[in-house]
């Protein structure tokens, strides 16, 4: 085991590479065929990647890096000193004594310094944090570090929604009517809204991920919503500017995965259906979408490629559209990073998107033409978050006391959490992504239903009961759901089968007897498993 030489060598800890578990499908898998003879063996310049991220995406990137024989550096923080992603890394940089007020994953100077000190020659930003920060990408280039993502110019143009709108408009991409550029105040917003008609949506110019967005249904709400959206935008993106767009009622959220190389080739890998959202936060995604036929897929896919080409896009990216009930589609935004929901595309295309990102960053030419991409089967991803579905999806951070995920053939699990890990309030609430495949949509839903009952998570409340409800819902099964599904079509957000409440009542009664009536019959004879008193169920019983 080599210690990494550096200014503060003692900070680095070299760890053994763990055995690989889930093997992402490589490009040589099913679904994609290419001529082996035409393959050019490229020299891999990327030797060691600093993962400027945490959680499941850090684990995910490291899995592919290991397969490609590329070393990885992970950053240890004081918030999560025992996090699972650290055990996947070749080198751990201990930053837990960092006294800076900026969290390390948002600290550009610090991350560059760590990369240089640990002799990484590339940085993968993952998603969130600095993934769509043009300045960070530029800083990497300035320090001769390979940024595994698009060019700073493409990040900047697509990151600024008003510029992105102008580019899309110039490329002839259909868009919802809206303001020409940013708007100064609620009065201007109201004027535009009068012109295009309510409802309208206020969006953050530098936005993404649902923050800084508010729907305004009538003029009276404009002032309040404008202030909320603008404040939220400033807080989240350091930029209070917002613009106004016609709000498309009950659309589907359809996004296209694209891949571009540095030689100007751009292809799309089909769509993802992400209409199951709450407050613009996606909860379940699938690929492909049952709302698209081959003709519409080609039309929308071509548009996605066109807009990517307009900014000379390279790396993986996502073009988001809204699709209305008449199958009209409107450009929404482009995300210039790997997405949380990328696994569903990997399953139906057989491609490893992280591998593609690394190869593209290495300067390699895309090995696939559009005609090589064939979608096969169906994939569904459930985001299992530490949230309380009985309290409107309020985050429920805490320690994951035990985590058991299904290991069936049709299941893939991407997670950065294991038994004993904590979901901390300073980061997002994701526990794991349950990704299920099937030969078609019906089959995938059937498998998903089975897999959901095999997930055991103890310690926090989770979104599992929501997904159990969803897979049983008629509107989900027939595919007619839209982005308003959760708000409009559901009376409650969770599923419990008949008798579950009664069984819980039985247990409460049993506890009461044990505690108050000193009844020995509690300790009944169990066949398997331990004989136990229900009172020992939880070591630390919290008081009301």
């Amino acid at each position: 085991m080599n210690e990494v030489k550096g200014g503060r060598g003692a900070k680095h800890l070299r760890v053994r590479t763990p055995p690989l578990e889930l093997v992402p499908q490589s490009g040589r898998g099913r679904g994609v065929k290419h001529n082996e003879k035409l393959m050019i063996i490229d020299v891999m310049k990327i030797k060691r990647i600093l993962i400027a991220n945490r959680g499941e995406i850090a684990v995910r990137i490291m899995k592919t890096a290991h397969l490609m024989k590329i070393e990885t550096v992970a950053v240890k923080t004081a918030v999560e000193p025992k996090a699972m992603y650290l055990s996947s890394a070749d080198v751990i940089y201990d930053n837990s004594d960092d006294a800076s007020e900026i969290p390390v994953f948002l600290n550009i100077e610090k991350l560059i310094a760590i990369a240089l000190e640990t002799h990484a020659n590339a940085i993968h930003p993952g998603y969130g944090f600095l993934a769509e920060n043009a300045y960070f990408a530029q800083k990497c280039i300035d320090n001769k570090l390979i940024f595994i993502g698009p060019s700073p110019d493409a990040i900047y143009k697509m990151g600024n929604k008003t510029i992105a709108r102008k580019i899309a408009l110039a490329s002839g991409i259909p868009m919802a009517m809206g303001s020409e550029g940013n708007i100064a105040n609620e009065v201007e917003a109201a004027t535009i809204a009068e012109k295009i008609g309510y409802p309208v949506i206020i969006k953050a110019a530098s936005g993404g991920g649902g923050r800084g967005m508010r729907i305004v249904r009538k003029a009276e709400e404009m002032e309040k919503m404008f202030i909320i959206a603008s404040k939220e935008a400033e807080k989240a993106f350091n930029d209070p500017s917002v613009f106004v767009e016609k709000y498309i009622e009950n659309p589907k959220h359809i996004e296209f995965q694209i891949l571009g190389d540095t030689k100007g080739n751009v292809i799309h890998l089909g769509e993802r259906e992400c209409s199951i959202q709450r407050k613009h936060q996606k909860l379940l995604e699938e690929a492909p979408s049952c709302a698209l036929d081959e003709k519409l897929r080609k039309k929308m896919g071509d548009m996605a490629v066109q807009i990517a080409k307009a900014v000379d896009y390279h790396s993986a990216g996502t073009v988001e559209f809204l699709l209305d009930s008449e199958k009209n589609f409107y450009f929404m935004e482009m995300n210039t990073r790997i997405q949380v929901e990328h696994p569903v595309t990997e399953i139906v295309t057989g491609l490893d998107l992280i591998e593609q990102q690394i190869r593209i960053a290495n300067g390699e030419e895309l090995k696939y033409k559009q005609s090589d991409i064939k979608l096969k089967g169906w994939a569904i991803e459930c985001r299992i978050n530490a949230e309380d579905v009985q309290a409107g999806f309020a985050p429920d951070p805490g320690k994951i006391e035990s985590l058991n995920m299904p290991t069936d053939q049709y299941v893939r699990v991407d997670t950065g959490v294991q038994s004993g890990s904590s979901i901390v309030a300073s980061y997002d609430s994701m526990i794991a992504k349950l990704i299920v495949k099937g030969k078609d949509r019906k089959d995938a839903i059937k498998n998903c239903k089975m897999a959901l009952d095999k997930v055991w998570i103890k310690g926090t409340k989770t979104t599992l009961p929501f997904f159990r409800l969803l897979v049983r819902h008629q509107k989900f099964q027939d595919g007619t759901f839209t982005t308003s599904f959760i708000e409009k079509d559901l009376e409650k957000y969770y599923f419990n089968s008949e008798y579950e409440e009664m069984l819980a009542a039985w247990l409460a009664t049993k506890l009461f007897i044990e505690e108050n009536l000193n009844d020995d019959s509690i300790n009944v004879n169990f066949e398997h498993g331990k004989v136990m008193s229900p009172w020992l169920l939880n070591k630390r019983i919290n008081q009301f």
């Binding site: 404040k231 089968s497 069984l503 039985w506 247990l507």
Partner: protein, 175 residues
């Protein structure tokens, strides 16, 4: 007194939504559905922790909180709150409930841990049901905390740019 306890023939588990489940004593480890009795088993093992076995299926189960006769049980990822009553305590509770006057105050607590971004009301202000009171940021999202009632703001404890824990007092509204 031990003798008194022996006289209890039934226990009632009342859910927070006022559903009543009655169980006769001694408590059986079976539950009757229609004409059939089904076994209920409480078990624990290494892999799954504690679970209830019912009709050949395992359901994860945990006691989340308890005090006196009140229990919060997490059963298959859903929490249920019950108060367990004896026939006597149930009768007493009914009497108490009918004597209790109307609630005069609505206390708004933080539904989740997070940071107060903005407080939109002042003490003395009148609010209508559905009006936003506080903006609380938790785990990436800004959440509007909305008044569940019509009333007058009596007390504002929430301060912008401060962190709050779950169930911290934010605002009191006089009805």
């Amino acid at each position: 007194m031990a003798n008194d306890k022996l006289q209890i023939k039934k226990l009632y588990a009342l859910s927070s939504e006022n559903r009543k489940f009655s169980f006769s004593l001694p408590l059986k480890h079976t539950i009757r559905i229609g004409k059939r009795e089904y076994d209920v088993k409480l078990k624990a093992d290494e892999k799954y922790g504690t679970y209830i076995l019912w009709k050949n299926r395992k359901y994860p189960v945990e006691i989340v909180r308890s005090s006196q006769n009140k229990y919060e049980i997490l059963f298959n990822d859903i929490s249920y709150i019950f108060t367990v009553e004896t026939p006597f305590s149930l009768k007493r509770k009914k009497v108490l409930n009918s004597n209790r006057g109307k609630i005069e105050k609505e206390i708004i607590k933080a539904p989740m841990p997070g940071k107060i971004i903005d407080v939109l009301v002042r003490e003395g202000a009148t609010v209508l049901r559905g009006e936003p009171l506080v903006i609380l940021e938790a785990m990436k999202m800004q959440n509007e905390i909305i008044s569940p009632v019509n009333g007058t703001i009596e007390k504002v404890t929430a301060k912008p740019n401060t962190n709050v824990m779950k169930d911290d007092l934010l605002i009191e509204i006089k009805l």
